[in-house]
């Protein structure tokens, strides 16, 4: 009891001592409450048979019916598998690329070249997703050089690469890496610039070459950043955004491309099954939460670096 009281007191005194700092935080807090916490109340419709006209309060309560419907749906397994695999591949191949890029570029001594390269790699990040998908779409058409190349390699007739379920994940992941690796490397560049130069000098005197320096000095120095980023990525492991999927998929590739969020979009918004869509989305979020907690726990155990 007394402990709580003293804690409250410290907070109050803290506010009294630095009122301006707290004032500055107010807009952020308000933003989170208004746009992230209040909308969360909307998940109640996942347990209802929601009708817009009756609203939150008068719609019929159906308990876990919507969830049961989803678990028994013939799409359930496939959706979970696709969602997991797409984001897993994205993590597996997409996560190391910015780190490697940052490490490699860090070795380049020509500042001008470095700056130009960095800027060029940022650019795709600023292109709207719709345009990116338009590019992908054009590059994978049956008469595109890429499709011809794949046809020669596999010995098949040239086909539209997006109409073959086999290639969907590859296209999705590779295009994602292309768009995001430059931007994603910024944080590592920042971490790299913080590495103490004396460490390099010391290792140089000990006879370490460039490669050994990178392995034994640079990498350990930015390891905490890498781990934090990894935890964050794992937290979003099951959340594949629906926008890109919807722009790229068609019924013929549902086998590998239909993910939970695109299903929520189709079923919840296009078919107006609001409650069902919410329930499926909630299911997805719960898995995400479990994943991020798990990753954090493991990381704290193994490396003593963690989000909290």
């Amino acid at each position: 009891m007394s402990k709580i009281k003293s804690k409250q007191n410290t907070l109050l005194t803290n506010i009294r001592q630095r009122p301006l700092l707290y004032l500055m935080a107010v807009p952020i807090v308000v933003y989170y409450v208004v746009f992230h916490y209040i909308p969360m109340l909307g998940i109640v419709i996942g347990f209802q048979n929601y009708l817009p006209a009756r609203g939150f309060f008068n719609s019929e309560w159906v308990g876990l019916d919507q969830f049961t419907r989803f678990f028994h749906s013939m799409n359930f397994e496939r959706l979970v598998r696709n969602t997991f695999l797409i984001s897993f591949y994205d993590l597996l191949f997409g996560f190391p690329v910015p780190i490697l890029f940052a490490l490699l570029l860090n070795e380049v001594k020509n500042t001008k070249f470095k700056k130009v390269t960095q800027t060029i790699t940022y650019m795709p990040h600023f292109i709207s997703l719709v345009v990116i998908c338009g590019l992908i779409y054009t590059f994978t058409k049956s008469n595109s050089p890429l499709a011809q190349l794949v046809a020669t390699l596999t010995g098949n007739k040239a086909e539209n690469l997006l109409s073959n379920a086999k290639y969907f994940r590859t296209i999705y992941v590779v295009s994602g890496i292309w768009q995001g690796f430059g931007w994603g490397s910024i944080i590592y560049f920042a971490a790299l610039s913080g590495v103490d130069p004396t460490l390099y000098e010391a290792s140089y005197l000990d006879g370490a070459g460039r490669f050994q320096q990178a392995i034994h000095v640079t990498l350990p120095s930015i390891a905490p950043t890498i781990i934090i980023m990894l935890i964050l990525r794992i937290g979003s492991l099951m959340s594949v955004g629906h926008e890109k999927i919807i722009l790229l998929y068609s019924p013929i590739t549902y086998k590998t491309s239909d993910v939970i969020s695109s299903y929520v979009y189709r079923s919840g918004l296009r078919e107006m099954n609001y409650s069902y869509g919410t329930a499926v989305g909630l299911f997805n979020s719960v898995i995400n939460l479990v994943l991020v907690l798990g990753a954090n726990w493991i990381s704290r155990r193994v490396t003593e670096t963690s989000l909290w």
Partner: protein
Amino acid sequence: MKKAYRFLCIVLVMMLAWNLAACSRSTKKSNKPSAGKFSDSAGNSGSDKTAEGKKKISPRKNKLPITTENIKLVLYDGFPTGARQIYSSMAETDIVKKMMKETGLQLEFVHAPEGDDGTFFNTMIASESLPDILRDGFGAYPGGPMAAMDDGVLLDATDLIDKYAYYYNGILDQGGSELRRRVMSDDGRYKLFGVCFLPEYLDGVRHGGFLTRQDLLDKVGIGELPVTIEEYEKMFNAYLDLDITPWAVALSEWQFNDYAPVASAYGVRYSGFQLKDGKVVYSRCLPEYKDFLRKMNEWMEKGYISSDAFNQRTDDAGKSFQAGTAGAVLSGSWENITRESVGKVTDPNFKTVGLAFPRLKEDDVLTTFSTVLSNPEMTPRYISADCKHPEEAVRFVDYLYKPETMKLTAWGVNTKEHTLWKDNPDGTRSWTDFMVKNPEVDYETMRQRYTFNPMQGMWDTEMEKLQYEIPQVQQPWSVWSYNTDDSDIIPKYVTRTAEEERELNTLMDEMDTYSGEMVQKFIAGQEPLDHFDDFVEQLEELGIERACEIHQQAYKRYLDR
């Protein structure tokens, strides 16, 4: 403390009382005719009489202006692409400005973004803040429009329509009992209000189909336009030798579904429900559907259709046709003019020609089209339940059917800056060169900018004829309709109850995903056709029979209506 509590109570009671007063004020207002200007003792006393009695007094009701008070109506309505290029909302157009002046109403517009797939509307419905007048079929709403009325999203405006919709009722009266049957639901409420009516000569016309190029046909030496599947194959084969895609088509889009090319040759539809010997069946369960899939698969194997067909859009298909990289395309009559004029840029010989839908034997009659225009066209307007001025809203929609308004929306407004049309000495009206021979903007875009097609109460015969009396449109029209009817299509005026709609919705959710994927795989050859029986079995397991039953019930009620 106690004092504060009492004070709070008093404040609350006062607020409540004020609210109640406000409520009764507004209900009073909506029951009474808005401006006491028109002396209408008949209006109130006649409200309990039969529909017959009401109609007789309605002429006086829809006088202009509709209101002299400061009343604002928010409309969710169409916004054609051409108009989007120069306006941010239809409210900025000369037509709507004139409407506001005439009716005395303030009109504000809500438009779905360009290329919206219906989710804008669905999100709007869920947000609980609705515009006053909504132009949408409510087909996606769980339970359809009638359920939306039951749920209290929409207003059941039946009484108001009977009372105030003078012009609308006038058109219905002219159309006879069949037209009235189409706009009413099974339980006697208005299902369709604010729809677009068609002039007689357009009723029953097919407005989309195959388009190919006469110059290509001449080049490969095909003298007669193909009709049978065999003849189509001959043409496609010849196109393959020219090194172009014989047929550019978007298999995941509505056009392929509604026009039902190839599928109609086998008496089925690409997706959904249809009639067979008077009974409702799911097309994809029929044995004929397998034959259709086999043919499509064969065409794909032979390269008549490229694998781009699965994920390209209708527009992409049209563009490759116009660019000369595809030999045939599905096209709507409104697009034909653009196709030819754009095509001529790359190839001066570019000349479009319509083809009859392919069939097994030349004298086969195709029965599974849903693209026949019929009266009235769908996309009705509904009044939302939140609307503060339902009477004015109904009267505004009715105003769209006033002959002068119909001329206004069809022809636009002549202003100081531009003259769109002129009245000829012989009493006819025609477009000026500004509209039809504008060097910068094509006619279709001009029409979208300066007329307001979605608000047309009835298509203007004179204007429609002007745009259609050109060979690029007339020739396809005549061949597209060759030996076709829609006798195996479930009439779109069938209504289902809210429960039926909800059950269907749940049933079809999985069915659509599953069958949509399987059918495309069959066509692509990724799934062997031997599995077709398993496919049908799976559909049965998912409850397709129950879905057919629901459609059958609703269809029967429609026939009995």
